[in-house]
């Protein structure tokens, strides 16, 4: 919750949190961040919308004038966290321009007039959200789980054949680690990604690590991968220099080889170096080519994003139809765009579920009323729109390759965006705030309470 000042330059903040013992379903067991930053961002993004109503201002403009400016990074937020990097104005302007925000507002105003004239029973909502995530737990000095520091690790062995195996302390549940980590390593050590085996989750062989959650794999284990790769490269440089009979500093790395500076026709490939590492006696060097890195991140990473949702709401049935969803994510250096896009689609769908229907409901006697998948909303292909994804790239200054992590971002930004879209549709009729989930019945009730069925 300490991230609840969001993406805004708020000099003073005070936060009080009530903890409640309950025999109901606990938080913190869901996935894609339905339990930490989402709540914080939901609060601030709803507050911004309500403030815009109070000030009779456009909510996009209100955000823009309050964003932390690019030159203020690294930025220490009022509640203590140091945001590593950001360029919120660029992301926001790109998002608004892409969706033709002005055009949407004009269309919305026309729709309201048409509704008042009785020509339509549908209203249009424009949902906005801008979020700052906090991921990559975390620095051992301030992050632990029951006393265990939250470092992560990577152990690399280069085989004499020039292929490699890397073992990590994380575990993939579908996030594409085998691809992402192999790609990080390929660019660090010049061995092609398909010659690199990634092994996770075997406690007989894996280095110690804290695992996969909180979008920490790339920020922490990915950093360990790059750092271990650099150790490999440093030794490979000495081997290459020996083989080429020049000083260590007279060779430089070039994609998959070390070349003699100024004489690119003289080189040793990583494959040749790997073979020599095991099979040639090199004075002053141990045989072999292995490295391990335990990475204690100096800070968390702070991905951010700008989302816009356009929906049409049938006032008489309460059914929202999502016409467009645009998601711009800045997760720093992008390693595999297809995997990032897949993560965003999935997180947005989970956000849609939370905002538009998911609820563990109880009756007055404390009986759970949503105990089956018939009652608990899990979106199917039928309910889910096509998402447009976009990006800006603001690398993390402290991460070895500038990557920030993305798994939870779409959930964090998505929940307030869907919710704001529903509530924005009724702004012209005096709605200030209603609670999620915005299922059809609750939307109908909102319309009814505003006199739209009269």
């Amino acid at each position: 919750m300490n991230i609840c000042t969001g993406s805004y330059d708020i000099p003073v903040a005070y936060l009080a949190v009530d903890g409640v013992y309950t025999n109901k379903a606990p938080g913190g067991v869901s996935y894609r961040c339905s339990f930490r930053v989402t709540e914080a961002v939901y609060f601030i993004e709803r507050m911004i919308e309500v403030l815009a109503i109070e000030l009779n201002m456009d909510a996009a403009e209100l955000r823009r004038i309050n964003f932390i400016k690019k030159e203020q990074f690294p930025y220490t937020a009022a509640l203590g966290w140091e945001y590593d990097s950001g360029d919120y104005h660029t992301a926001w302007d790109k998002a608004l321009k892409t969706v033709d925000y002005e055009g949407l507002r004009a269309e919305q105003a026309e729709r309201v007039e048409a509704f008042k004239r009785g020509e339509t029973r549908s209203l249009m909502g424009i949902g906005l959200s801008f979020f700052t995530e906090i991921v990559g737990a975390g620095p051992v000095k301030n992050c632990d789980i029951l006393g265990m520091g939250m470092f992560d690790s990577c152990e690399i062995r280069i085989h004499p054949t020039g292929s490699a195996i890397a073992r990590l302390g994380t575990i993939s549940q579908g996030q594409g680690h085998a691809t992402t980590f192999a790609q990080i390593l390929a660019s660090e050590i010049g061995i092609s990604a398909d010659s690199i085996t990634i092994e996770e989750g075997d406690t007989d062989t894996a280095p110690y690590g804290l695992g996969t959650y909180g979008s920490r794999s790339t920020p922490v284990a990915g950093a360990a991968t790059a750092m271990a790769g650099r150790k490999i490269r440093a030794k490979a440089q000495m081997i290459a220099a020996y083989l080429l009979e020049v000083h260590d500093n007279d060779v430089e790395f070039d994609i998959d080889r070390f070349v003699v500076k100024g004489a690119p026709e003289r080189f040793k490939t990583m494959k040749e170096i790997a073979y020599a590492a095991y099979n040639q006696a090199i004075p002053g060097l141990e045989p072999g080519l292995e490295a391990v890195s335990y990475y204690d991140p100096p800070n968390m990473t702070y991905p951010f994003g700008a989302y816009v949702c356009v929906m049409d709401i049938d006032v008489d049935t309460g059914v929202p139809e999502i016409r467009r969803f645009y998601a711009l994510d800045d997760c720093g250096t992008r390693i595999n765009p297809m995997i990032i896009e897949g993560q965003v689609h999935g997180g947005l769908t989970e956000a849609l579920a939370v905002a538009l229907g998911q609820e563990i409901a109880y009756d007055d006697m404390g009986n759970v009323k949503t105990g089956t998948l018939m009652d608990f909303f899990l979106p199917t292909a039928w309910e889910v729109p096509n998402y447009e994804t976009d990006y800006t790239v603001t690398p993390s200054p402290h991460h070895p390759i500038g990557a920030k992590g993305v798994g939870e971002s779409p959930h964090v930004g998505g929940v307030p965006c869907f919710s704001n879209a529903v509530q924005d549709a009724f702004r012209a009729f005096g709605l200030r705030h209603t609670n999620m989930p915005h299922d059809h019945w609750r939307i109908w009730q909102t319309a009814n309470s505003l006199g739209l069925h009269d």
Binding site: Y31, Q173, G174, Q175, G176, M338, I339, E341, G342, H345, G346, G347, L348, T349, E350, T372, L373, M374, L378, T380, A381, W382, V384, N386, Y387
Partner: protein
């Protein structure tokens, strides 16, 4: 007295015979009696579709049927659709378009999609979304699944045209 039933099935082209309590769910007979573990158990309540198989030409959630009801039928599971080194067009398309993340729903998705494309070889995006609505995925948000199926449909149709 044994209340077990003599079950005969043809699964992925092979004849199978075994004894089972007729009320045993088909998914458990497949997984535990026949060791066919491609179809997954997601919910056991016929909502999620991870256990989808093709029975006598129809997509069926195999947790929704008793093995006794399936007696005598012909069943295709994901194992009968493609091989690791000879993937079905749909499997290749899911790989190409990032149509899976954790992979738990994928056997059901692909088994259902093969049938969908038989029922409707030229579906619109809307028809794919409707036709796949019985299969839940919690990772992908469906977008790339829909894309994979539409791409596979184009490819199958192009191959069909080329053959003519």
């Amino acid at each position: 007295m044994s209340d077990k039933m003599h079950i005969k099935l043809k699964v992925n082209g092979e004849d199978k015979e075994f004894l089972a309590e007729p009320r045993e769910l088909l998914i458990f007979a497949l997984r535990e009696k026949l060791d066919i573990t491609g179809p997954h158990v997601g919910c056991e309540t016929s909502h999620c579709g991870a256990c989808t198989v093709i029975i006598d030409g129809k997509s069926v959630k195999s947790c929704t049927m008793f093995v006794g009801q399936a007696n005598g039928s012909e069943i295709t599971t994901i194992e009968g659709i493609g091989e690791p080194d000879a993937l079905h067009v749909l499997q290749e398309s899911f790989r190409e378009h990032h149509g899976l993340q954790c992979g738990f729903c994928t056997p059901g998705m692909i088994t259902r999609a093969t049938k969908l494309l038989e029922e409707n070889p030229t579906p619109t995006e809307e028809e794919v979304r409707f036709g796949m609505a019985g299969n839940i995925c919690r990772c992908t948000g469906y977008q790339n699944i829909v894309k994979s199926i539409l791409a596979a449909a184009s490819e199958l149709n192009a191959a069909k045209e080329a053959a003519q």
